[in-house]
């Protein structure tokens, strides 16, 4: 699994976005930061709680100049049908068929043939600044990802359990 400081592998993949099939390159994304979500599969029961959760928080991420992109091994047509079933997903769902992108990020489960539940945040230079992987049965926290995105974007030192609007620097530190 890649770690903070590594250059984010480039992608140019088919995707489903806004109810249509398309294609997306990493270089086309012009926001300051990118949240890249890997998830195991469309048409499952835990993944939609995350995918819809990030969709519902899209405005909060946009306010932080952060784009959301998700990827699984499903093809674009399946992404389209699934997104429709979920009531529409605002951000692109990449069709990482074969799992090349997940492999490049070191989060491909070869035994199961699908991506692990992993999150990467990329900065403006498309360097990985945050990464986390969850067990397949445990969904990610949308609010935690947003909290980390806010903290990273602040460019300041953020103590444990820091929340947006909270005090920067270690406890007792006069910032």
């Amino acid at each position: 699994m890649l770690k903070p400081g590594d250059t984010a592998p480039f992608f140019d993949l088919p995707c489903a976005v806004g109810g249509r099939a398309g294609r997306l390159r990493l270089s086309q994304i012009d926001t300051e930061m990118v949240v890249l979500l890997f998830y195991p599969h469309d048409f499952s029961f835990i993944c939609p709680t995350e995918v819809v959760g990030f969709h519902n928080a899209r405005e909060a991420f946009a306010a932080e100049h952060t784009s959301i992109v998700a990827a699984s091994v499903d093809d674009a047509a399946t992404h389209l049908r699934w997104a429709r079933e979920l009531g529409g997903i605002s951000y692109p769902l990449l069709a990482d068929e074969g799992g090349a992108l997940a492999r490049a990020y070191g989060v491909f489960d070869e035994r199961e043939g699908l991506a692990m539940r992993a999150t990467f945040i990329l900065d403006s230079k498309r360097t990985i600044v945050y990464c986390v992987a969850s067990p397949v049965n445990v969904g990610r926290s949308v609010s935690e990802t947003l909290r980390v995105a806010c903290a990273l974007r602040s460019g300041r030192m953020c103590p444990a359990d820091w929340e947006p609007g909270g005090q920067f620097g270690p406890a007792g530190h006069k910032d």
């Binding site: 599969h41 469309d42 048409f43 499952s44 029961f45 835990i46 709680t49 399946t78 049908r81 049965n137």
Partner: protein, 247 residues
Amino acid sequence: MAALDPSEKKRLIERLSSIREIVFGMQDGILTTAGVLAGLSGAVAVHRQVILAALASTAAGALSMGAGAYLGTRAQTEVLTSELERTRQETAAEPYVLQEGLLHQLEREGLSREASYRVVQLLSSAPQALLSTAEVKMYGLSRQALGSAAADGVTMGGAFLTGALVPLLPFILIPSAGPGDYLGLIAAMATTALALFAVGYFQGWLAQRGRRWPSGLRFLAIAMGAAVAGYLIGLAIAPLGGAAPGQ
């Protein structure tokens, strides 16, 4: 052939599930009693005493087998019931885990991911349907496996008793002319072999096999093989008791 009504089919399958107790009990009753008759006929000269000993052995065997089946089924039922209850609690606490597990299992059995998802989603609208399907598909647990301990005990004991009568009846009905007259014993052994074959044949018929004769012969060979092996082991260890074989 007209298809059976599903509820009738279910009842038939439940009845057929007793085949284990019936085959096991009958085979044991036949072989144990034949062994007692053969062994005692060589050692005891009085025909009537051999019959009494065989009857006592039959009664003890039937009770023992019936009690064993009762206790075995009861233990199995308790363990399975406990597992089913645990599954029910896990489902209530973490339905997603069960849904994902069932989805994977359906995929493994040939449904597409999307179709599996829709099936599980439909089942999820009725939690009991989801749970009972998951019990069978994911854990191989089935409420049908929760047999009745009393019924299994009676079936096993009855089957043993029925099997025991096979060698016993000809032995009783053919009186002995004295020491050296083995006509009753020969008749008992002949009916034993015939009955063992018949049990195998019947089992083949129940399983709707095209080849019932091989099923009967296989059953006869395995059962008689076990009996011969037991006899040979007896011969081998007889010297340890201080007696020469046959004495």
